[in-house]
């Protein structure tokens, strides 16, 4: 080393912006880690749940005697046994003051309201013993008529899901821009409009289908309980379980070890978590429950499930004048943690990126005899984005305008940010034109349009279409005061603390619990830059309420925006505390100190430096530190955002439709997302890819199908089609960057963007390919059969048959009940 080297070239590269490979991946991918089901405790008992094979019935008798006498069975419990202590699964989001909540027992006592609802629990010394005994529990059901269709459920004289209630409607939620003072009178806008387009769109039910099934282990120790659970929300779960079970909060420790995906599906207080805690308390022994995939598909909460009636008003030039939305939102049989709030959250996103002068939203939450719905990647925003991006295309057709020109005419211009929408949200930053231009180039738009024209003229059996989705979403959940104004039961802040260890290594404790997102890598990058320490010197701790006592966990694309900001703010406090010690050690005034690259130096005094990692050792020894401070430079911070962040982007899909068979195939997919400042481009790319896969899956593959009796016929992955890499196209992705003004990182959130944006782009593309053949809508998922019917028979493709496939011996039929029957003896050798 020479003394003449330029200081600038010595400075380490900034970590933020580096495509770091994720430090947590090796252990997650190999499985050599603490997945909950890997936990083995001395004396641990195993739970197996007996589940209802019928959708709606009174329980008239349960005989558990045979199961109780089965080998290695310790006990069998029914709902009656636990009725006094089980309370109700909490609903944290009463969206209206008069919302009807029938209560949600963790295990049915008198009545079952969906297939898969728990009716008894077997406790065995082994998982096999418990599972074998499930078949020996004999339950008598008096069948009630199942309520399955929302439009029928709200009709006069409908059968009731809960016969103690007056109707199947849980709530009627209204947002009216005129009344809220954020827009003009909607009825007037429609009365005055030159053009009105109305559509009924359907958001099918989806299943989150996380990779790691739900799993929970509870260990009682004296009057304390430790729960390991594959959950997204250990902190929220702790509060809720304390309230539900009466186990005092300070006697309850929740650990979310490594968690294998959630997509909102593990944003829940699960009945099985409550039951495991109750049984561990009653038996005084550790217990474990891990679901099968079949249980997961039928008993873990579903997502989406809306019928959307949407009207758009405009003048003949295509200037939009008003938007009116009426939703039927499927609650399922009960209200879980935020079941009613999901469509209400979407209420604010229906206007999208467009300058509507008037807007009215109404939503009925409807009970059905199906498993409850709740958060699923995007939670309310994909539904809203789908509706607005679909209706913009329909309006363009009605007006004879290019769909992109119509969008341009109405979207918020770059110079208009910050922009307060008709729904009252203040969009923070962005440039829709710039993202769109970039996306058009990525797609090769002009060439594909020319090819589309050629295929149409030649009557090619394979037609081509291009679909747009110019979307925005609200992320960074959430400003606590806003959540309060929406009657949500908690805040939206996040907590972080930083511990400077004596050897100079750094422990970052985050309240935002990851379940596959890469927090450990991204947080390390943030802290490395803030403290000027090597990336490798940072360890991120999370997911254990004893280690990370305060947190609001991970959902709603909030982690980096809110949780990452808390980390940055904690780091700023560490530096501020270290500055006092540095001034003391360097015998200089704090004002004369500069902090860069992890070192404090005295301005104008070469060589007078001390590193922050050295200061950590100095305060550990505590031999020499200022008299007016405590010997610690550790710090914690809580960040409560003042606004949401608003990622946006333009997604373009080019779709080939084989008109002979109805098969659709994505020819090309290009998207440009503005997620604000990018901390790790590799993680952002991965999040976009995963989101696209799930959004495309809604458009083309996935649907939770129930038959007329309320059986989930997509009861295994044979029939619930989750696409693999083999089924998805190459994705051409890019970013524009407009930093979020609401947080010091400038990040907007990326976890849900791909999932929210892609679905309408895909459907719009398929429709664009066949609209000249008279098709104006096709129900999701766009099965080949539906596409073929829409082309050749008119309509929207119609209902699918509900029977599961015969492949595999009809795996769906009995997996729902989990019992073998005479029909199990299928012929043939396998």
């Amino acid at each position: 080393m020479t003394v003449t080297e330029d200081a600038a070239t010595l400075a380490p590269a900034k970590e933020v912006g580096q495509p770091r490979r994720r430090k947590e991946d090796a252990r997650l991918i190999t499985g050599r880690t603490t997945w909950t089901d890997n936990m083995v405790l001395p004396g641990m008992l195993h739970l197996a749940v007996v589940r209802s094979p019928v959708a709606h019935a009174r329980i008239t008798g349960i005989d558990v005697s045979a199961a109780q006498q089965a080998p290695n069975v310790v006990a069998v419990f029914t709902g009656r046994d636990l009725a006094e202590e089980q309370g109700s699964i909490p609903c944290a989001w009463p969206v209206t003051p008069d919302m009807v909540n029938p209560g949600h027992p963790s295990i049915a006592v008198d009545q079952v309201n969906h297939v898969g609802e728990a009716v008894a629990i077997v406790v065995g010394r082994s998982k096999a013993a418990a599972t074998d005994a499930v078949e020996l529990v004999d339950v008598d059901y008096e069948i009630l008529p199942p309520v399955l269709d929302m439009e029928a459920a709200v009709a006069e004289g409908a059968d009731l899901v809960h016969d103690q209630l007056e109707s199947n409607t849980s709530y009627h939620f209204v947002f009216d821009a005129g009344e809220a003072g954020t827009g003009a009178d909607t009825e007037q806008a429609f009365a005055d409009a030159e053009v009105v387009v109305s559509r009924r769109l359907v958001q099918q039910r989806l299943i989150p289908a996380f990779m790691e099934p739900r799993s929970v282990v509870v260990q009682p120790q004296g009057d304390n309980f430790t729960m390991w659970s594959a959950t997204q929300i250990p902190h929220v779960l702790r509060v809720m379980l304390a309230m539900v079970t009466g186990v005092p909060e300070h006697k309850l420790r929740i650990i979310a070890p490594d968690v294998g995906g959630g997509f909102g599906g593990k944003l829940q207080v699960n009945p099985e978590e409550v039951l495991a805690l109750l049984l561990a308390r009653r038996l005084g022994k550790p217990v474990k429950w891990t679901e099968t995939r079949s249980e997961s598909l039928m008993a873990a909460h579903h997502g989406r499930g809306q019928v959307q009636f949407i009207d758009i008003a405009s003048d003949r030039e295509g200037n939009v004048k008003g938007l009116r939305v009426r939703l039927l939102a499927d609650m399922g049989a009960y209200l879980r943690l935020i079941t009613p709030g999901v469509p209400a959250l979407g209420a604010f996103m229906f206007p999208g990126i467009y300058k509507f002068p008037a807007y009215r939203f109404e939503c009925d939450g409807v009970f059905t005899n199906k498993v409850p719905t709740d958060a699923y990647r995007g939670a309310g925003r994909p539904e809203a984005t789908f509706a607005i991006e679909r209706i913009m295309d329909e309006l363009a057709v009605e007006l004879g305008m290019d769909p992109l020109e119509l969008r341009r005419k109405n979207w918020i211009q770059a110079e208009e940010f910050p922009f307060t929408t008709v729904a009252g949200l203040e969009y923070d930053s962005g440039d829709y034109e710039q993202a769109t231009q970039k996306a058009l180039e990525l797609l090769g738009y002009d060439e594909l349009r020319a090819e589309q024209q050629r295929r149409r003229e030649s009557g090619d059996p394979v037609q081509l279409g291009i679909g747009f989705s110019t979307f925005t979403e609200m992320c960074g959940l959430a400003p606590s005061r806003v959540l309060g104004s929406l009657s949500y039961g908690a805040g939206g802040w996040e907590s972080a603390s930083i511990r400077m260890l004596p050897t100079g290594k750094v422990e970052v404790v985050t309240g935002s619990t990851p379940h596959g997102q890469g927090h450990e890598t991204a947080w390390s990058q943030l802290v490395a830059d803030q403290l000027g320490v090597p990336f490798e010197d940072v360890e991120v701790l999370h997911g254990d309420t004893a280690v990370s006592p305060r947190g609001m966990d991970t959902y709603g694309s909030r982690s980096l925006v809110v949780g990452g900001t808390a980390v940055v703010k904690a780091a700023e406090k560490v530096v501020a505390k270290a500055r006092k010690v540095a001034a003391h050690l360097l015998e200089a005034s704090e004002d004369d100190l500069e902090f860069a690259d992890g070192k404090f130096s005295v301005r104008g005094t070469p060589g007078a430096t001390v590193g922050i990692q050295e200061i950590a050792l100095a305060v550990f020894a505590a031999h020499n530190y200022p008299e007016d401070v405590e010997p610690s430079i550790d710090a914690e911070a809580t960040f409560d955002p003042v606004n949401f962040s608003f990622p946006h982007g333009t997604h373009l899909c080019a779709m080939e439709v084989d008109t002979d068979t109805g098969m659709v195939k994505i020819r090309k997919y290009a998207c440009v997302d503005d997620v604000g400042t990018v901390v790790n481009p590799l993680i952002v790319e991965g999040q976009v890819h995963g989101g696209l896969a799930q959004g495309i899956a809604q458009a083309l593959y996935e649907e939770a199908v129930y038959d007329a009796d309320g059986n989930l016929t997509t009861g295994s992955f044979v029939d619930y089609l989750v696409p693999s890499a083999a089924d998805l196209p190459h994705f051409d992705t890019a970013n524009t960057v407009h930093a979020a003004p609401g947080n010091p990182i400038g990040a907007k959130g990326v976890g849900e963007a791909g999932c929210i944006a892609s679905t309408p782009a895909v459907v719009n593309a398929a429709l664009d390919a066949v609209r000249h053949l008279g098709v104006s809508d096709i129900l999701m998922p766009l099965t080949p059969e539906r596409v073929w019917r829409a082309i050749h028979q008119g309509g929207d493709g119609g209902d699918r048959a509900t029977a599961g496939t015969n492949a595999y011996g009809g795996a769906q039929t009995e997996s729902t009940a989990g019992v073998s029957t005479p029909a199990s003896s299928l012929g043939g050798d396998r």
Binding site: K127, A128, T131, D132, E135, T292, S294, D660, T661, M663, Y701, V705, T713, T714, S716, V718, D719, L721, V722, P723, S724, A726, D727, T783, P784, E785, W788, R789, R800, A801, T802, A803, G804, T805, N806, A807, Y808, G809, G810, A811, E814, S815, G818, V819, S820, S824, S825, L826, G827, G828, D829, R830
Partner: protein
């Protein structure tokens, strides 16, 4: 999920296997790769008393020539079938169809004989065996018998295999002359079973189609031959028009099921399109 308890035998010869089957009690299942059996046992759709695992019966593995036939051991894995040079030479249709079965992992464990004996109407190989007029060699306590493909597939998941019997090998006639072959599979995602598929073998002679053999997957409880289309193609000109005309009768005599991927009338439409495509490709058009 955990299967119900069962007894397990792992013989090393066909004789030992037959013995194990005979001694296995009321409900014996044969494990020939387990890619269908293990899942249905885990779902408790099947709860056999005894499982006889053939994985160590090495005499049932491999492909050999025997005069005018290929002989495929029942325990030859899909992966071995796909890369076998004899199959590539004399029955490439089998390799083409096998390559579409499930995914790589399944193809490394699943076996040719296991898939045929399972007789899943949505499985790919039964229709191929039927189209190629394969013969099934079945071993029992009283020796061996041979059953033609047309008689082997009896009903949904049901074959001519009697209690105590074992499928040991499949004999496929070598095709001589100018044959072209194609397996057209229609499914929604890559790893799924066929919604409908068509196996076509076409022999051309002097610009005409001399002979066509067409097997249909998932157009009824068993694999079927598209006899009407075959008859229409015999001696027909090898032109797109003639093939399209003949393919219109591909659904004749079929009885497809309705499920969430396809209702029966759509399957009847699909089979015509896929037959046209398969025959056209097999005829070199």
């Amino acid at each position: 999920m955990i299967p119900a308890p069962f007894a397990y035998a792992r013989p090393t010869t066909v004789d030992e296997a037959l013995q194990a089957i005979a001694e296995g009690g009321e409900d014996v299942k044969i494990l020939a790769g387990g890619q269908s059996l293990i899942p249905v046992m885990r779902l408790r759709l099947a709860a056999p008393e005894t499982v006889v695992d053939l994985s160590k019966v090495s005499e049932l593995r491999g492909v050999r020539e025997d005069g005018d036939s290929l002989v495929i051991g029942a325990m030859t894995t899909h992966a071995d079938v796909v890369r076998d040079p004899l199959i590539q030479q004399y029955a490439p249709l089998i390799a083409e169809a096998t390559e579409t079965v499930a995914d790589r992992q399944v193809r490394h464990r699943g076996t040719f004989g296991g898939a045929l004996a399972h007789a899943d109407p949505a499985g790919d190989l039964p229709a191929v065996a039927l189209a190629l007029d394969a013969e099934f060699v079945i071993a029992g306590q009283n020796g061996r018998r041979t059953v033609p493909a047309a008689d082997f597939f009896v009903d949904y998941l049901t074959t001519a295999l009697e209690e105590g019997e074992l499928l040991v090998e499949i004999r496929v006639p070598k095709l001589t002359g100018q044959w072209g072959m194609r397996y057209e599979k229609f499914n929604r995602v890559a790893q799924a079973w066929s919604i409908v598929a068509v196996a076509a073998a076409v022999r051309r002679e002097d610009g005409h189609i001399a002979e066509a053999r067409i097997g249909l997957t998932n157009m009824g409880p068993t694999p079927l031959r598209a006899r009407a289309t075959e008859a229409a193609l015999a001696g027909a000109a090898a032109t797109p028009e003639a093939i399209a005309e003949a393919a219109r009768s591909a659904a004749e005599g079929t009885s497809p099921s309705s499920d969430l991927n396809a209702q029966a009338d759509y399957r009847e439409h699909l089979v015509q399109v896929l037959t046209r495509r398969a025959v056209s490709a097999a005829a070199g058009l």
